[in-house]
Subunit: 216 residues, 2 copies
């Protein structure tokens, strides 16, 4: 690559960060908390959103990011809350969301009664962590089925986030997984990270998550 | 983006494809089967490699792709087979492997007794599917814990592969997942895809996998 290209790339990244910073400030002024959920595919983000919608109702809204389909948005919308779907498929199948997408989605949102906006990022534990979408809180959802070593193998997602939700804890009795090892590995890559354990199936641990949202 | 950049990007992609094609031909001449395993993080690829190594022994070798750590290579190497670790972390944390990486790794491999080379790609259901690494068979590993909708949401990985290994079937009794719906969704995005169901914990289904490898 020659210098010219690197320069262009820098410009694109800066534009992402600039829009992200503006979004964060705008939402802070409106007293709306913006949370960016990142994870591997199938960690349980959408099910967590469904349960959370039953607690917060129309005070929250969800922006779903997927390469294809509106399946997740349809699931969450059933809870009667504002839901938006971003599909990156028609735009090259991007593997992450950028702040420009979120800004466009936010322009469609009716903000008056909102207290929390969630973004469910593309299911990908690598690329989304590289892009600031303007959230106040970045949260990684890690299913216990994914194994103990994931924080060590995908450190950036954990380093660029403030919260880790360890999900699907109801499956622990059927796995050769020690949740304490997962937590030790999280601390190794991000000692300050807050950790919440929950099961979207049984509902266990959700009170801690709701408490986190209320005090954030 | 201006035209110049698009041109450069095209050049990079072509170089990847050119090296991939050369690798595939070279291994065909040597009667070595090259399989590229792609999946989300924590789908069970490494455990499948461990069990497969106990069947094929030194006839197989594994190239592990990870952003960070040599944990997977250390696990597989315990089976007494040739194992190589590619870490993309020091090179920008690339979210996928390209054929150039594989070519470099292959130069280190002692090929004389080999019948199969596996690449365990970076745990990411999105980006690796875009890059031909020179394999004869691309295989997606999908854990039943990831949910029924993943083939629809991440179609490229399924469209660019010939085989889907549905893993962790031992967990089905504890999930609200119908494996037939997973298989229907696979057929929707890739009607020709071969599907093998297995559990690396119980060993169930591994004979089908070994049979697939022996006839490929």
């Amino acid at each position: 690559m020659d210098k010219k290209e690197v320069k262009v790339m820098q410009k694109i990244l800066n534009m992402n960060d600039k829009i992200a910073e503006e979004l964060r400030e705008e939402l802070s002024k409106k007293n709306i908390l913006f949370i960016n959920l990142m994870s591997s595919p199938g960690s349980g983000k959408t099910t967590i959103m469904e349960r959370t919608a039953h607690e917060f109702g129309t005070k929250m809204c969800v922006i779903e990011g997927d390469i294809q389909t509106t399946l997740d948005a349809e699931r969450v919308a059933k809870a009667g809350i504002q839901t938006y779907q971003i599909n990156t498929g028609p735009f090259g199948g991007d593997c992450h969301l950028e702040s420009g997408w979120i800004k466009s989605a936010m322009e469609e949102i009716e903000m008056a009664d909102l207290e929390i906006i969630f973004v469910e990022n593309i299911g990908n534990l690598v690329c989304p962590a590289e892009f600031d979408v303007g959230a106040h809180v970045n949260a990684v959802v890690l299913s216990v089925t994914e194994g103990e070593d994931k924080p060590l193998k995908y450190p950036l997602a954990f380093q660029n986030s403030q919260l880790c939700i360890i999900s699907k804890t109801d499956l622990l009795p059927y796995l050769d997984i020690d949740i304490n090892v997962i937590k030790e590995n999280i601390k190794k890559v991000n000692p300050k990270m807050e950790v919440i354990e929950l099961s979207a199936k049984s509902g266990e641990g959700f009170q801690s998550w709701f408490d986190f949202l209320k005090r954030s």
